[in-house]
């Protein structure tokens, strides 16, 4: 049982070989920006850098990694990948699965492997990048990641409107869904006993952002809101539910007393109610494919077991 706190990758490779059981890994010293090439719209970074620091570096070249999980000041690139973290902009930007193009991973037997690369299109070999995302360091420890990036949007605007009932919110949601509007955030929330609120954001060329925002203002939305509700709510104890987006309102109606933040465009609900029976695969047992995967990559069970979140 041990905590590994290597000062560099070579150090980690040596330590992990001699370790029987890895409890926790602190990679705060493995945190360099290896490379940011704005002309290529790619960047390579070590696992321990905080996401906010990474974004700050990228912003110097007018770019960003389009993911926005809560608490970017403390969330490291490693945590971002290991837990596939994301936030409100997921609707417009996807998840880190859409942006990771290369990894270096320390395997429990002390070998360093690389997969993918630093080009934006690459189908040489099997895609272990996708495999390690969300794998919670149970198969290997990502030490370096290469991402494709996006230009920072020229403008961004967040708007919100309160609703008295789910029915009213649904009518508005369906209207936006069927329109030509292209929001990057499409959230519904009801937190801390406040009203049901829809949040819509637009980002991109300023002409588009202004035009779309005006359309929403005409529908009674107010601008100048913040997205900080997401981190505030998700920092407290909560559970989640993922459903087809078309079932969102129906699912929310089954949580009449719960607080929630819902990604209406993705069908994802974070709520503080009881998890419904059969809502998620609550089995803690790994299935056959998962067991074989764990056995292949971590035969001695040095690394943690996969948690069902």
């Amino acid at each position: 049982m041990s905590l590994l706190r290597p000062s560099n990758v070579a150090n980690l490779l040596a330590e992990i070989v001699n370790c029987e059981k890895v409890d926790d890994i602190d990679l705060s010293e493995v945190s360099r920006l290896v490379e940011h090439v704005p002309e290529d719209m790619t960047a390579t970074v070590e696992d321990g850098m905080a996401l906010a620091d990474f974004q700050q570096q990228l912003a110097k070249g007018g770019q960003w990694l389009p993911v926005d999980p809560p608490n970017p000041e403390s969330v490291t690139i490693g945590e971002l990948l290991a837990n596939n973290l994301n936030g409100p902009r997921r609707f417009g930007c996807g998840t880190v699965r859409d942006w990771l193009i290369g990894v270096a991973v320390v395997l429990p037997d002390g070998r360093l492997i690389r997969n993918g690369g630093k080009v934006v299109k690459n189908v040489a070999g099997f895609d272990l990048c996708r495999l390690f995302i969300g794998a919670q360091n149970t198969l290997g420890i990502i030490v370096e990641a290469t991402f494709k990036l996006q230009p920072l949007p020229e403008a961004e605007m967040h708007l919100a409107k309160r609703f008295e009932s789910l029915g009213q919110a649904e009518a508005c949601l369906e209207h936006i869904w069927d329109s030509t509007l292209q929001p990057i955030v499409l959230d519904l929330h009801r937190i801390d006993g406040s009203d049901l609120t829809m949040v819509v954001s637009f980002a991109g060329p300023s002409a588009d952002v202004t035009f779309q925002s005006e359309e929403l203002i005409a529908m009674g939305f107010e601008d100048g809101v913040s997205l900080d509700y997401d981190a505030r709510f998700r920092s407290k104890k909560h559970t989640w539910k993922s459903i087809a987006p078309g079932n969102l309102i129906n699912s929310l109606s089954q949580l009449p007393r719960s607080n929630f933040v819902a990604r209406a465009g993705n069908g994802l609900i974070y709520h503080d109610g009881e998890p419904c029976v059969g809502e998620e695969d609550s089995s803690l047992e790994l299935n056959g494919l998962e067991r074989r995967l764990k056995q292949e990559f971590d035969p001695e069970n040095k690394l943690p077991e996969l948690r069902r979140q």
Binding site: D40, V123, D127, P245, G246, E290
Partner: protein
Amino acid sequence: MRELKPSLHKTMVDRLVAIVGRDAVISEESELVVYECDAYTMQKNLPTAVVLPATTEEVAQVVRVCNELELPIIPRGAGTSLSGSVLAVDGGVMIALTRMNRILNVDVRNRRALVEAGCVNAWITREASPHGLFFAPDPSSQPACTIGGNIATNSGGPHTLKNGVTTNHVLGYEMVMPDGSIKWLGTKPDGGEDVGGYDFRGAAIGSEGMFGVVTRALVRLVKTPASFKTFLAIFDSVDQASHTVSDIIAAGIVPAALEMMDQVITRALEEAYKVGFPLDAGAVLIVELDGLAGGVEQQAKQVEAICENNNAREVRLAKDDAERAALWKCRKRAFGAVGRLSPNYVTQDGVVPRSKVPAIMQFIREVSERHQLRIPNVFHAGDGNIHPLILFDERDPDQVKRALMAGDEILTKCVELGGSVTGEHGIGAEKIDFMEKQFAKDDLEAMKKLRTVFDPQQRCNPHKMFPGAKRCAEFAQKKQISA
């Protein structure tokens, strides 16, 4: 072709016929020839038999029979792969998914479509477009290639620059595992995006048919952009066009597509289709912007200015949907038009970091001169994904040798420049030797571990991807020529 004892051959045929019916089993050599290769024609191998199942359950039963008889399984879509990834290198039962080609459901509200693996890529957009939706991955072979094949190769296309590739647009799929069990990986047809656990869905996309047989897929549909602007920018030189590409990206613009064609290609296309390309242009770019009208207008002005700064001779705007469609049809037929120039050609699929496009184009010119071969280029410049077409005549052994050497040199240079030997065509049988150039031994070992998880017997599409895979005698000859 794998020689089976006549009694075993009969057993195999009888058992396959019992599952799928006589009409859906091909085992006569004269008919098997159709399945001896894909669009990569440098290597040919006959499968022992081809089956054309109609249901997932039939696929599963066929897989179980192959297990009992210890025969390789080769999944196949339309056979448009460009890297020999559906070759039956050591014989075996080829499972062709072309009869399982239905669109089962277009779920407009959830922007998804459920389709069978043999469904042709372009059919999905055809069905979805009346609802203002489309399926984004658009390989040039999209009028023929299947979704199952797209999943196997993680296909791209000109519009992946903005929209991403197949892995970004396939939510989940049903797979017949090599043991004959049926699993659904990823998002279920009526389910939520997040399924928890390991991402086997993502891990098996691009696995070139080596992890199982995909039978149904749930694909993401995206909203058709409200507005398009498609430019044809004409340059005197490839260099000018290359620098324009870099400048567009550097300006923070991500076009929907950013494609380059050099002089040989534009001339061939002009001769074939009379689209109005000037015959003396050094290179042309197709730049497509999409989105809302205001933003597209704003970016169009920037793109025009960038083209002018790089001394574009002319920037033409497609004036309507028909002109835009004609331009794309032309681009996607470029490989075909090259058939007019040369009896044979081999296309490469290297990738370099975007900023290295001018360097790799320069290198290709040098290779072309050194080997005295014409190497025209038509490619996804915005992604750094090059497609040099090496022209040769297979009746001249020396030309074949030089063509193979030229291809090797170009791909090796892509790796040296920090790129990859394949951006969308796959490794297949063709590029096995490059895996060790691009990856270290341990990297390949880790990939093999993943294969073992899915297919411990290595029954599914064997002899692909990894060095040490078996080659057929015919191919070995060609390799000898190149040595």
